[in-house]
Symmetry: C2
Subunit: 155 residues, 2 copies
């Protein structure tokens, strides 16, 4: 039985080292990205997760909190305080949906819309820092999407 054999197959000691964990490679690269973005985003007054929310809103303003959460894979426990800060900074506006009072519609303010002009500078700088070709980026992106979908559906 192949499945049984696979499950009981010994993992070589070398594969158990921290440095050889795929999860750690993803984890530490995520932190490296956050750090690389920091000096650039500081200039426009955004944190990295806030920047991701702005990317979602620049694609489509007027989204309920839940829709943003689905795109970012974050729940309202994370988004509520984050959106409150974006609102305090004058980048977004929050209004109850009159057709469904449970929902809060998030939309860009004029300041929030204008900030989109920074996108080329930001992405240009990160592209330089990542220092890999567009082709390489697409490859990694594709592999990670597959990995992520496996991990998610396994739960």
């Amino acid at each position: 039985m192949k499945a049984h054999l696979a499950k009981t197959m010994e993992i070589p000691e070398e594969e158990k080292r921290l440095e050889n964990q795929l999860c750690f490679a993803v984890y530490s690269t995520a932190h490296a990205f956050t750090r690389a973005y920091k000096p650039i985003l500081d200039r426009v007054g955004l944190t990295y997760p806030q920047y991701l929310v702005m990317l979602a809103l620049w694609e489509k303003s007027e989204q309920p909190v839940k829709a943003i959460g689905e795109q970012l894979d974050l729940d309202s426990g994370t988004l509520s305080p984050l959106l409150k800060r974006l609102e305090q900074n004058g980048l977004i506006k929050r209004t109850r949906d009159s057709r469904d009072e449970r929902q809060v519609i998030v939309s860009l303010t004029e300041n929030g819309r204008v900030m989109r002009s920074e996108i080329d500078t930001i992405m240009g700088a990160i592209g330089q820092a990542a220092g890999c070709t567009l082709e390489e980026m697409k490859t990694i992106r594709g592999l990670l999407k597959g990995l992520r979908s496996n991990l998610t559906s396994a739960a």
Copy 2:
């Protein structure tokens, strides 16, 4: 001048979408990993970052905080409270280095050492969830290591 051209090259709109950001692929995969580990690590009473620290200590007990920080790329602001919790849970011990009183040496307790026997179960379960071949894992790991090193050295 090639460098100048590259910097001023327009980024296609499609590449600006949240879903097409390499940083977001890494960010969301990291979260997916944490979620995949959660039910498994809950059984042994570890959080995911705590598990990474344990991996480092299973490789080598008796490490100063700084050494752990270098392997995980975390500073003492993150590690100090995390290690305090591991100590409270009886998995590690912290002692001042008598040769250099500034340093705190972290070492495994008997309970901490014994927990290493869970490593095959944990990694086996995650391997199943990730659902990709050892070859694929090595490929992604290698690509991410390169990416991470670029991002870090750019700063």
